[in-house]
Symmetry: C2
Subunit: 147 residues, 2 copies
Amino acid sequence: MNMPDLSHGDNAAAVNSLRSAVMRLSRRLKHQRVDESLSPTEMSVLGTLARCGSATPGELARKEHVQPPSMTRIVALLEAKGLVRLEPHAEDRRQKVVTQTERAEAMLEESRRKRNAWLANLAADLDEDEWERLRAAAPVLEKLAHL
Amino acid sequence: MNMPDLSHGDNAAAVNSLRSAVMRLSRRLKHQRVDESLSPTEMSVLGTLARCGSATPGELARKEHVQPPSMTRIVALLEAKGLVRLEPHAEDRRQKVVTQTERAEAMLEESRRKRNAWLANLAADLDEDEWERLRAAAPVLEKLAHL
DNA sequence: TATTGTTATACTCTATAACTATA
DNA sequence: TATAGTTATAGAGTATAACAATA
């Protein structure tokens, strides 16, 4: 049986902290936008496209853990802002291919700067040991978020 | 290129991972509720009350990073569900004091069990080293969320 | 006058259900 | 029949603005 041992260590306590922190941080991160008209999920989609190159709306919906109609809307908004292009799929005429534009790349860069500035502000109260823990955990959190 | 002073090169990368992971996880955590009628922020308020004993609506709004009218609504919903009590403030008649009920404590316990079960499921793919990183980072994330 | 909390209202994001078009 | 995407609609959660009561 590969049941993870949650009674082992303080995994339960860690889970509690994690959940609480994730919910609070997500609420605050919503306010840290480069462009006020760009929602967190829209940003996240751009990030995914930057990593993956291009994807269909369905793939994006699955990756972002959002329902297909929500992704339809998000992609439409991004297209209206000139941040993605929609092209017909080569083999399947039901599908579409979403690609990010050059403008999206510039906006991601600006976004990184703004988020870093925001966190740098918070980080004034974090010591080097605490940063070390964050750096170590970041890939695990990402893995968790994508599982 | 004047980046904000993050002191270490990969802090920026950690911030990116963190933001992305936090947004995705928060979306998924919304679906992991003990009681479908209890929102993430309501749960968070109960958690805060469990730690702090009692607080005024204004204090809760500040702690949860929510605007006062939102907290008014949340507290009203919690009271309607018998999870908190509202009492007049001893010294200031403008304020109120919010306290959790015994029923709230029982529900928090059940919630812990359910969340642990959900994460235990994900954790099948996390090894002990990864759990270690999460445990180490959990308090830092909480600190960050409250700064 | 300033502050605490509330009421009224509107907005954003997401979901579900039903539809269209391809496969 | 099944799948990809869309349209129409509803709901949850939060915000802003204006107001009431108290300090």
